[in-house]
């Protein structure tokens, strides 16, 4: 089984090059005696590894779902248009339950935050391996080290781009969606191979010490692990200043701290105040329009003048385009739906009471009662998501609205006055604000 094999152990005596290299180790971290921690070893590495195994799988699946939620096969929706085979799994995003995207994306971001201390602990735990000397004793080991470059580089790349994006710090070298999607696949290629090759070793390391015993072992009783074939255990460990349960407790406390100070922005309501350091942890007020705004009218370049009484909604796609004023829309049968707003950044609002015209009524009015898609255009000129598409199931859902009012009051300009789309389970940016044109296609 590949998982039981270490490249340098299979069928080789140390060659001349390897003996020379071992006799001439560079100073500092390349010498094993540099690493003094008495708690570093295969067991802690395996503990952190097993948590990451589960967590990274959840991250990958929720991440894939997020891309699917954007319905990238529809016009204008795909921000990673050269995805090729990597989009093999895509499927029409449902509208039921209404909190679906809220859940998958909230889980993605919160799990990501929770894993940061675990990832850091794992990197701490295996850092002596970066300075393995000689760098490679065989082509197999060289390839494995290259795959580890992709693993570590990919993991940190994903976490850094993700954390920068959720606080709107767009310093990365390109469009977030492309970087994060392709980066995920590069990382997962290395992750799968890493798991395949190391799973056996992880399981045997976990079995080598009892978790219950370690949880009862205090600092004074902490002993180093026996020497391991991976050279993680220090040959000359210092006295323990923290126990293994202390290290696990510290990492757990880190995850708990990050999650407790962030989850409020995904739940909303009074708990939002708890999210002290999260980007959407500030409560605006308790008025009908005082839920979180994504992109103010000022940023979108939409003026009050454009949204005033001269505004018309254009309905296209049928035999003749129609122009409707806001009063025309208010005269049509109104429906109220309780729907949240959920963003790719992981925050969301609780259900708001949106009142407006059903999208399927607008489809019927435009002359396309059985639409396959609708192209929705905003007053916002250009920029991301100024034009998006919705799918048939989203148009025909009875709770999908062109909202004119929210929570019993007029929509504010920042929330999309005079009219915005709101569709259950839809990513926030596809609930287009300041709608000016809807073109239905059969």
């Amino acid at each position: 089984m590949a998982s039981q094999l270490k490249p340098e152990r299979v069928g080789r005596e140390p060659g001349r090059v390897q003996r020379f290299a071992t006799a001439h180790q560079p100073p500092g971290p390349f010498r094993r005696s540099f690493w003094r921690s008495p708690v570093r070893g295969p067991w802690l590495t395996a503990v952190f590894g097993s948590v990451l195994l589960v967590g990274i799988i959840v991250m990958f699946l929720t991440g894939l779902l997020s891309y699917a939620a954007y319905n990238p096969d529809l016009p204008e929706n795909d921000l990673t248009s050269d995805k090729g085979l990597l989009g093999f799994y895509l499927f029409p995003w449902p509208t039921d339950p209404v909190w679906l995207y809220r859940f998958t994306q909230g889980l993605h971001v919160l799990m990501g935050l929770a894993l940061i201390p675990v990832l850091l602990a794992k990197l701490w735990s295996v850092i002596p391996k970066l300075f393995d000397w000689p760098p490679a004793v065989s082509p197999a080991q060289a390839l494995e080290r290259l795959s580890l470059l992709l693993l570590v580089g990919g993991a940190v790349f994903q976490f850094v781009t993700g954390v920068a994006n959720i606080q709107l710090w767009y310093v990365f070298p390109g469009n977030f969606y492309s970087l994060h999607f392709y980066g995920a696949w590069v990382f997962m290629a290395a992750f799968v191979v890493h798991v395949v090759l190391r799973l056996g070793r992880m399981v045997s390391a976990l079995r080598s010490r009892s978790l219950r015993q370690e949880l009862r072992t205090d600092t004074a009783a902490t002993q180093p692990e026996p020497p391991d074939p991976d050279d993680l255990v220090s040959p000359a460990p210092a006295a323990a200043t923290i126990s293994r349960r202390g290290v696990i407790g510290l990492v757990g406390a880190g995850s708990l701290t990050l999650v407790l100070l962030s989850f409020g922005q995904s739940i909303g309501g009074p708990l939002r105040r708890l999210a002290l350091l999260a980007p959407r942890g500030q409560v605006i007020g308790d008025g009908p329009n005082d839920f979180q705004v994504n992109k103010t009218a000022a940023e979108a370049g939409v003026t009050a003048a454009q949204a005033s009484s001269g505004w018309r909604l254009e309905l296209g796609g049928g035999p003749a385009p129609q122009l409707l004023s806001r009063d025309d829309l208010l005269a049509m049968p109104q429906h109220t739906a309780r729907l949240p707003i959920a963003c790719v950044e992981g925050w969301s609002t609780p259900n708001q009471a949106w009142t407006g015209v059903r999208l399927r009524d607008l489809a019927g009015l435009s002359g396309v009662p059985e639409p396959a898609t609708v192209l929705v255009e905003s007053l916002q000129e250009g920029g991301a998501f100024s034009v998006t598409s919705l799918r048939r199931n989203q148009i025909l859902d009875p709770d999908s609205l062109l909202a004119l009012r929210v929570n019993g009051a007029e929509l504010s300009l920042d929330h999309g006055f005079p009219a915005r789309v709101i569709v259950p389970a839809n990513p926030g940016v596809h609930n287009t604000k300041w709608v000016k044109l809807m073109t239905f296609k059969a």
Partner: protein, 153 residues
């Protein structure tokens, strides 16, 4: 064939796994690099080394300094080692800073335009959370000291 595998240094499954990994990584990697090639490479390789060559030296040196102070301050080992009562709040608040520093230091240009909110509160909140961690840790240390003294009495 056997000579090839001996030269390779591992079994055929290992080689197949490596080839599969690099094939998928190359397919996705080419798409990743189709934008700002140099920028993305710098970010990716930087990501691979930033913990081991930047973050680790920083916290390892800080930790060893703290331990050195512990050893120097008392000829005999102290009744209760205080290093963990400094480590835990320092690492927790350092972790929060590491994750949220763009907001804490108000580096996010588009923040107000996008959210309508201000970045102003974040520095104060982080300092308050840090103070809270250290105060709780100080109380925990004081209780531990009292318990040790009571046990010896």
């Amino acid at each position: 064939m056997r000579r090839l595998l001996r030269w390779y240094g591992s079994d055929p499954l290992h080689l197949i796994a490596m080839i599969a990994c690099f094939a998928l990584a190359a397919y996705a990697g080419l798409k990743l690099l189709s934008g700002d090639l140099v920028g993305i490479l710098v970010w990716f390789i930087g990501a691979a080394i930033i913990h081991d060559l930047l973050l680790f030296p920083l916290y390892a040196v800080a930790d060893r300094s703290a331990q050195a102070v512990l050893r120097r301050r008392s000829a005999t080992p102290p009744q209760v080692p205080w290093v963990n009562y400094v480590r835990v709040p320092a690492l927790l608040s350092g972790l929060l800073l590491l994750v949220w520093f763009p907001l804490i230091f108000r580096l996010v240009g588009p923040y107000r335009a996008t959210t309508g909110l201000s970045q102003e509160p974040y520095l104060g909140r982080w300092l308050a959370v840090t103070a809270f961690f250290f105060i709780v840790s100080a109380f925990a240390f004081a209780f531990r000291l009292r318990r040790e003294r009571a046990a010896r009495a």
